[in-house]
């Protein structure tokens, strides 16, 4: 662990040193080119122009020749070209990172939507099945009628809550789900709602459990067809992703701290050498 930390810090020092050298080099090149160009222009303008100046002569009375003008302009253009290319490359990398992050977020949101819907469908299937099993008992078991009735009512309440949860998911995550899925899930919710009827005892009853079960199974098949699993689920886990994001943030923070530390060390070295 200590070795890893020391090697990574050496690497970052090397990177910082590289960056500082690059910046210093760029400033020197700009300074050299500018001073050559403008210095010569100023020098030439300050005196009478002589006709017998050699091609690369830089001295009092000699204006820059066409060739030297071309070379210096070319150098400046090349430098600016490289500089802008570097900036554009950096920008495109940033954009790619943003697009990738957005894409990953979308995948996570989609996975979350599908997971939540499937969990809700499981709840629906379980509670509908329970109701199906409790209803005949309610008719036959006269002793525990109240208890069974309570259980059935509780399950119907659960179904209503789950349906409203499903509708909320469709509302908030409709940007990551296929329109066909949204339509089908809405239809399913409608079917379950319409499936409620009140019997002689004013007890809610679900008309057809098997039909709803088949619809849910069909819907899950459509899920898998329209949103097939292509990425290992471990990569989509919110915990892992948030950790990665926070790690990135820490890394950025660390970089700035290291730069500051490096500058302080550099200043100390200069002081001690004096």
């Amino acid at each position: 662990m200590v070795l890893m930390t020391s090697s990574s810090s050496t690497q970052s020092y090397y990177e910082i040193a590289n960056r500082i050298v690059m910046i210093a080099l760029s400033i020197s090149i700009i300074f050299l080119a500018e001073s050559l160009y403008f210095g010569n222009q100023a020098l030439a303008a300050s005196s009478n122009v002589k006709d017998d100046c050699p091609v690369f002569s830089i001295k009092n009375g000699c204006d820059l020749s066409g060739w030297l003008h071309l070379i210096i302009d070319g150098l400046i253009a090349a430098f600016l070209g490289i500089f802008f290319h570097h900036l554009a490359h950096k920008q495109s990398l940033k954009l790619k990172k943003i697009v990738d992050e957005h894409d990953a977020m979308k995948k996570r949101r989609r996975e979350f939507a599908i997971q939540s819907l499937k969990n809700h469908f499981t709840t629906l299937l379980f509670s509908m099945s329970l109701i199906n099993k409790l209803e005949p008992m309610y008719a036959s078991d006269t002793k525990n009628r109240d208890n069974i009735k309570d259980q059935i009512t509780r399950n119907y309440e659960l179904i209503s809550r789950v349906i409203s949860d499903i509708k909320n998911i469709l509302l908030f995550l409709n940007d990551v789900l296929e329109p066909q899925i949204i339509n089908d899930v809405n239809k399913l919710c409608q079917t379950i709602h319409q499936g409620y009827v009140k019997d002689v005892d004013k007890q809610l009853r679900l008309i057809d459990y098997t039909e709803t079960k088949n619809k849910i199974n069909g819907l899950c098949k459509t899920f898998d067809e329209l949103h097939p699993a292509v990425v290992p689920v471990q990569e989509l886990f919110p915990r892992t992703s948030s950790n990665l994001q926070s790690n990135n943030r820490t890394l950025n923070k660390l970089n700035y701290q290291e730069i500051a530390l490096y500058c302080r060390r550099l200043l100390k070295k200069i002081d001690s050498s004096k």
Partner: protein, 120 residues
Amino acid sequence: MKILGIDDNADINELLDTILNGSGHEFIYVKSGIEGLKLIHEKKFDIVLLDLAMPEFSGFDVINSLLKDGLLTKQKIILFTASSVLDAEIEELVKKGVHSCIRKPVDVDLLLEKLEQLQV
């Protein structure tokens, strides 16, 4: 059968509690991976129904911890998940020692049937 359910979904836990205890099994459930891991260390279960997507300590973390402690093959861990897990991922987990995977949503009769098969 003694069954442990590790799932953060309270509704599913409660429904499974009613269904499985009602069909002659002994079902206990916990809402987090850490609690589940603690129970697995303390008691012996015939089947552990493990959800994968849980906050803080996921099903994958439970599997890795059990693998580290050498307990993964000693328990019948069945993934009970709504996540879009790739078949390759499941195969990898089965190689590590996970028994099998039941994908949500599942019908009660089908779930009970699978549990009965495991008992045999």
